[in-house]
């Protein structure tokens, strides 16, 4: 046990040290030494020969010394030093960009259409145009509003101020985002880890609803905002499937039970109108209600073979022996446990 404690303490310490080391550091950018401006008589591709076929960033290397020697004679010691620039470090790119595809669309393959400013000697080696250069042609307003970044951006996780204001997730985003996520979860993951999704979607485990945890986010359309309990019955009647996308029957019944509304309550109260059990003996009939919205019934009565429904509707019951299945019912395998509850 002592050894386990010692080992875990050492590992924890190692972890803590490493964590501290991940504080923000200065950006390392090597200054360029190449004087672009005095080589103005050439096309860019004369030296950057690989760029014409480059389909992703990094696969086209910078021109080597051999390219310089096509024009420059570097026989002297000074020239050798002059024409031996520091190599750019290999790095991973946070953007996806196809130079080959873009050059075909730019008039005369003019690189300066995007690379308007090239670094002078001594300036940081950063030739990437700003994002405004991309959006000058790619208006993609819908993608921008829906924060669909992944076609270009590999990851946005390192940006401390995620551009929520720019990517406004417009309109009723709480309702709309699910439709988009079905096909583009990868786009969401560009900015959001699943710890973010879990704030709302880990419904089986999460202890507190987002509108209670984030009361300051008044402009967000949280689904259960503003006394949802009082209106939840109307919402279930309007769109029962929507509730079922997150909540199982027991989720509803566990509260109904405590309020005396479930058959499982210690002192159950009958929430149904008088004459509910027999057609014509009251204002409403349970069979019609079940046909109209069975998910509403499931909020209290989904206990399998122990369900109150089975008591009356099982085959051979003394109360009734009606065929309760809807016309479209296709289940024919009566060996299943569910079927055996009524068809012993």
């Amino acid at each position: 046990m002592k050894r386990a404690t010692l080992l875990s303490s050492l590992l924890l310490l190692a972890g803590a040290c490493g964590f501290k080391a991940t504080q923000t550091q200065a950006v390392e950018r090597v200054p360029t030494t190449f004087p672009h401006e005095i080589h103005g008589g050439f096309d860019c591709a004369d030296c950057h020969t690989g760029i014409i076929k480059s389909m992703q960033l990094g696969d086209s290397k910078l021109p080597g010394v051999a390219k310089c020697e096509e024009c420059h004679d570097r026989t002297s010691k000074e020239d050798k030093a002059k024409f031996n620039p520091p190599r750019r470090k290999a790095r991973e790119y946070e953007l996806r960009f196809d130079h080959a595809a873009h050059l075909k669309r730019v008039a005369k393959g003019d690189c300066t259409a995007c690379h308007k400013d090239l670094p002078a000697p001594g300036q940081p080696w950063n030739t990437a145009p700003s994002m405004a250069t991309c959006t000058a042609c790619h208006t993609h307003k819908t993608d921008f509003a829906e924060a669909r970044c992944s076609p270009c951006h590999v990851s946005l996780k390192r940006y401390p101020l995620k551009p929520i204001s720019a990517f406004s997730h417009e309109g009723n985003w709480v309702k709309e985002h699910g439709k988009l996520a079905k096909g583009s979860a990868e786009s969401c993951a560009t900015c959001h880890e699943q710890t973010y999704c879990a704030q709302c979607h880990a419904t089986a485990t999460r202890p507190i609803r987002p509108e209670i945890l984030f009361p300051e986010k008044v402009e967000v359309d949280f689904i259960h905002r503003a006394d949802f309990v009082s209106r939840h019955k109307v919402e279930v009647a309007a769109d029962p499937a929507s509730c079922r996308k997150c909540h199982g029957s027991h989720f509803c019944d566990s509260c109904h039970k405590e309020q005396g509304l479930s058959p499982r309550s210690l002192s159950p109260r009958d929430p149904h109108p008088a004459g509910w059990s027999s057609r014509g003996s009251g204002t409403a009939f349970h069979g019609d209600a079940a046909r109209a919205n069975i998910l509403s019934c499931a909020g209290c009565h989904d206990q399998g073979a122990a369900s109150i429904c089975v008591m009356c509707h099982r085959v051979g019951s003394a109360v009734t022996n009606l065929n309760i299945h809807p016309p479209s019912f296709k289940q024919t395998d009566k060996t299943k446990p569910m079927c055996r509850a009524c068809h012993p």
Binding site: C17, K179, E186, C188, T195, R231, V234, H247, E258, C342
Partner: protein, 427 residues
């Protein structure tokens, strides 16, 4: 000895992961709420104290690929009466806790393969936001083709039994699996065909196949559609179709239609799944109008068609941001179904003043028919927060009101939030 060493080493390894990551996000939220919920006609005083933590370490670059580890978990103690209802989870102890997500994700083979192992949510296709203990693999093939597959056990709250009648999640199953085949051309088409299966101790609970499509033939015009088909019942469970148009630089229009058969959202082993086959159709549309940079108007209307009768859902919401740190808005909603309906009027505002921020949210309902003998409900939440330090914030909120179930109620929430992002280097 080995049994103790293993979890200790695993915990230490998890905590050591940030050392290898280029981007680390860590949050801690300590929350205290106080209120008097109703339990079978009796008021009880509940004062739970929660600690919610999340940690994600991403861009851990190795020779095998890039990795990400994420953890979101919480613990709670009931300082007063034990909360009788914990989102449907077992509530017998003063202390409770759970893990929301905990996974290790790897982007391998130059991002051609992504594998995620652990507790996670599966989003793609017909999975229907499945909360799963298991694994998922995504393969990106050339020419825009892709393939994903997942498998595992649907999550049970508080580590309770899975796949029983007491499962609170949307999937009552011991095993769930599925996948999606997709093809995409960036900025033009996304197309997917998916399957989602689940069983509870060998008994079928779900067998759906789905499809999703999104076409953007022009950057101002978008068509999206998704749906699933239930194989045992040979019926469409849901079909959604939406058409979006940027009609003007200040106006976006959406027309949408949904067909849904709610009984197909029940697990196939539920006794209630044999009683009904109702169909619903919703059709309508919405618009977003931004006449100025500061003002946004959102409006929508849907006709709700069901076997038992028609209904209406409508809404108008205005949000005004006159200055960067002000938000003022109003929201008017209508929902009518044959059984009942309501009008909701809501106003909200928030304002930042240096390190201080305050917000107000007020609402009023008018029900068409009485709910628990009452036909209206009103309430409001007042929140104040203070930025203690760049990563630290404290907030206090009070909610008061009167509704059909409480003549008057007051709930209080206080929270202390720490939120930090660490990056090793910006490229």
């Amino acid at each position: 000895m080995r049994r103790r060493l293993l979890p200790a080493a695993a915990a230490a390894w998890l905590l050591a992961l940030p050392a290898a990551a280029d981007v680390v996000t860590a949050t801690s939220t300590t929350v205290v709420t106080a209120g008097q919920p109703n339990r079978d006609g009796e008021l009880t005083t509940a004062v739970p104290v929660y600690e919610l933590v999340s940690l994600s370490a991403s861009e851990m670059k190795t020779s095998w690929g890039e990795f990400e580890a994420a953890l979101s978990a919480w613990g709670a103690v009931d300082a007063s009466a034990i909360r009788f209802w914990q989102n449907g989870a077992p509530a017998g102890s003063r202390a409770s806790g759970d893990v929301d997500v905990a996974y290790l994700r790897g982007d391998l083979l130059a991002r051609r393969l992504t594998v995620r192992l652990g507790r996670q949510v599966v989003v793609e296709g017909a999975a229907r936001m499945l909360h799963l203990d298991g694994g998922q693999a995504v393969v990106r093939l050339p020419a825009g083709f892709g393939f994903s597959a997942y498998g595992g056990a649907p999550v049970a709250p508080r580590f309770d039994a899975r796949g029983t009648a007491f499962t609170t999640g949307n999937t009552v199953a011991t095993v769930a699996y599925g996948g999606r085949v997709s093809w995409a051309r960036a900025g033009l088409v996304e197309l997917g065909v998916s399957a989602s299966m689940a069983t509870a101790d060998g008994d079928l609970t779900r067998r759906d196949v789905g499809a999703d499509l999104r076409i953007t033939p022009h950057h101002l015009f978008e068509i999206s559609s998704a749906g699933f088909y239930n194989l045992p019942e040979k019926r469409l469970g849901q079909v959604e179709l939406a058409l979006g148009v940027e009609a003007h630089r200040t106006v976006r229009l959406v027309v949408d239609y949904q067909h849904v058969e709610p009984d197909l959202f029940l697990p196939r082993n539920s006794i209630l799944s044999v009683f009904a086959a109702d169909k619903r159709n919703d059709i309508g549309g919405g618009l977003r109008w931004t006449p100025t940079r500061a003002l946004a108007i959102d409006a929508d209307y849907h006709l709700l068609r069901a076997d038992e009768g028609d209904g209406n859902r409508a809404r108008v919401k205005g949000t005004y941001r006159p200055y960067g740190r002000w938000v003022v808005g109003a929201d008017l909603q209508l929902l009518q179904v044959p059984d009942n309906g309501y009008w909701l009027a809501r106003v909200f505002a928030s304002r930042e003043l240096g390190r201080f921020a305050g917000s107000l949210d007020g609402w009023f309902y008018r029900y068409d028919k009485q709910v628990n003998g009452q036909d209206q409900s009103a309430g409001g939440t007042l929140t104040g927060s203070y930025q203690l330090a760049p990563s630290w914030k404290v907030a206090l909120a009070g909610t008061a009101g009167s509704d059909p179930f409480y003549k008057s109620r007051l709930d209080v929430m206080a929270k202390l939030v720490w939120n930090q992002l660490y990056t090793r280097e910006v490229r």
